[in-house]
């Protein structure tokens, strides 16, 4: 009887997951409207720029890369939360991954979509983007594959394709569960039709499960090096140039660590909001936040170490132009940004996360939000800090973002939230079948323990 009781509790928890998909939730609807309105700011500002030309942005000689490239690097970094973390947890078979993977994978997909928009926005004339695609035409325009910008396109395309498929594959069985429910209740609703289409005829046979699990494992193994390559290649956009404080051998790993750091930060904030908003504390439990908090603490120390190593070598090398950028960052014009970054990225995590109470859902969300601010500043310092003092120092200049760039940045945050709200209302944010599988394994372990206890004399 105890197991039937446990089953009933598990079913009631599942209902909390499924309710946003089957019933009208005013909070989610209002959230979608508000974030949709903020997202509209992106398209309004971008449209304004397209009609009035790129001159309406604040970028100018010598700071040719401003907010747009800062945001590009920031969003691509955030995309490392999901697929990479999810893949690592799957490969290592960490049991606590089950409720985390889907919310993480969705973050990756949406952050990549938004990150990929920024180079198009930065182009000024986005309709000439196809010049970067190898399509034979009479104009004889052909991409230069030796350029890190071409590597960006290939890496981001590969990662986006992989992330979308990696999100969808484990979603198929859940869509089948929802289809079966919907067909039982009322097969003629649009919702039932949507779930039928999304489930693409999944039946749950032994062969289907075997192939799906093999596919997910293979994807997890493939996607890890792809994720690492993406941010390494983004770092090479900078490191392959001879600009001061860009031409660094550790930029690849430094960017990867920073990307995972900012990605997990978003994940912690998103999970906290999901837990509060959807009442799914049974899945996104304190234990999950505690584990993520510990992981995050390790990344805080790694990021701090990389930052120290990067700045120490520049200071010790004492090359004139490098020291100029360094000094402006530590003591000069950019020092308020730098020290805010150090506070939010190092001090806040190290002050809160070592304590078990600090690794509570609220504690990790506060740290995550703090690190997000710090990581955006880090991207800004790398892009604008260096370009303000290029190697040819007679072109020293400054940069201030225009309202168009601000609008696009704020709109991109709205777009991310809007996409996430939409996702929560169309798919279970926690993988139902993976949680069920975990429950079956628990029952099996209990049976084995009971059998062992009976055998003991």
């Amino acid at each position: 009887m105890a197991s039937f009781g446990a089953e009933a509790v598990a079913r009631s928890h599942e209902e909390n997951l499924i309710r946003p998909l089957t019933a009208f939730r005013p909070k989610l609807f209002i959230g979608s409207l508000v974030t949709g309105a903020v997202m509209a700011l992106l398209f309004y500002s971008w449209g304004y720029q397209i009609f009035n030309d790129i001159g309406v942005a604040g970028i100018n000689r010598p700071v040719f890369w401003g907010f747009y490239i800062t945001n590009f690097v920031f969003w691509i970094g955030i995309s490392h939360a999901g697929t990479l973390i999810s893949a690592i947890l799957r490969v290592t078979q960490a049991e606590w991954r089950r409720p985390v993977t889907r919310c993480a994978e969705a973050i990756t997909t949406f952050a990549l979509m938004i990150g990929g928009l920024f180079p198009l926005i930065h182009l000024g004339r986005p309709w000439v983007f196809w010049y970067m695609v190898p399509i034979p035409t009479y104009r004889g325009i052909w991409p230069n594959f030796s350029s890190p910008l071409m590597w960006d396109i290939l890496a981001i395309t590969t990662y986006l394709t992989g992330s979308l498929l990696y999100l969808y594959l484990p979603l198929i069985p859940d869509m089948a569960i929802l289809r079966d429910r919907a067909l039982k209740e009322n097969p003629k609703t649009p919702r039932a039709l949507f779930f039928r289409i999304m489930a693409i005829g999944w039946r749950g046979t032994l062969q289907q499960w075997h192939s799906l699990e093999a596919g997910i494992k293979a994807m997890a193994v493939i996607i890890i090096p792809v994720a690492v390559s993406v941010h390494t290649i983004v770092s090479w956009d900078f490191a392959m140039a001879v600009q001061p404080m860009w031409h660094s051998t550790i930029f690849g790993p430094y960017f990867v660590v920073g990307a995972i750091y900012s990605g997990v930060a978003v994940l912690m904030v998103a999970m906290y909001l999901l837990r509060k908003g959807l009442n799914i504390g049974e899945y996104l439990s304190d234990k999950v936040f505690n584990n993520l908090g510990l992981l995050f603490l390790a990344f805080a120390m790694m990021w701090g170490y990389f930052t120290f190593a990067e700045h120490l070598t520049v200071w010790y090398g004492n090359e004139h132009i490098e020291r100029l950028v360094f000094d402006e960052r530590i003591w000069g014009r950019f020092s308020p940004f730098f020290w805010t970054m150090m506070f939010t990225n190092v001090l806040v995590p190290l002050a809160i996360l070592p304590w078990p109470k600090g690794r509570s859902p609220l504690g990790t969300a506060i740290v995550g939000f703090s690190v997000l601010i710090g990581m955006w500043i880090e991207r800004y310092l790398i892009v604008v800090g260096t370009l303000s003092f290029p190697r040819l120092d007679y072109t020293v200049g400054s940069y201030a973002p225009s309202w168009v760039e601000m609008g696009i940045f704020v709109g991109s945050i709205g777009m991310f939230a809007f996409l996430y709200f939409s996702f929560v209302q169309t798919t279970p944010i926690v993988s139902i079948w993976e949680v069920r599988e975990g429950h079956h394994l628990e029952v099996k372990a209990q049976r084995q323990a009971l059998a062992a206890a009976r055998e003991e004399p």
């Binding site: 498929l165 069985p173 693409i200 075997h210 093999a214 079956h440 099996k444 049976r447």
Partner: protein
């Protein structure tokens, strides 16, 4: 005349008992279909039902084809549209290697997904989910369907929650 008997079980262990019973009765594994809403534990269901996957080999094939394809594109581009390289090789390994790596990954990803879809028979029948007991899958029950002669014994389904004949 043959018919299909469907049985929905609450526990995977009851399903295993039912499958053992069917095996004793001489029912071919080809005539038995087990379906569930979550993967069934391999300890409970040993691989006796002929499931298989060519996943690693297909992923590897995709990786080789993807890598070869993009390497060829880059090498061909460098030859057809030569850039001044200051005496360095036209097809330099470092930049070509980066692009080739992405081709390897993209090829492996696409072949993996294609293999999953092919082996699972997806996109599948529009009738999926419309079987007489399919709603039990949503409740985490396990369905067993047996193709047998009309009027065949249903003793194997003694522990089932619900049964149906088609």
């Amino acid at each position: 005349m043959s018919e299909r008997i469907h049985a929905a079980f609450v526990s995977p262990y009851d399903v295993r008992d039912a499958l053992d019973r069917l095996e004793q009765d001489g029912v071919s594994t080809d005539d038995i279909e087990v379906r569930s809403s979550a993967p069934l534990d391999h300890d409970v269901f040993p691989k006796r039902h002929g499931v298989h996957s060519r996943m690693p080999w297909m992923a590897l094939t995709g990786a080789v084809l993807g890598g070869t394809g993009l390497f060829s594109l880059v090498a061909w581009s460098a030859t057809i549209y030569p850039l001044p390289t200051g005496g360095q090789p036209l097809i330099a390994i470092p930049p070509t290697g980066v692009v080739t790596f992405e081709g390897v990954a993209l090829g492996a990803i696409l072949f993996t997904v294609a293999t999953v879809l092919y082996e699972c028979g997806l996109p599948g029948l529009w009738s999926a989910g419309t079987g007489p007991l399919d709603h039990h899958l949503a409740d985490d029950h396990v369905l067993v369907t047996v193709k047998c002669d009309e009027g065949a014994s249903m003793d194997w389904a003694a522990k089932a929650l619900e049964t149906a004949r088609e």
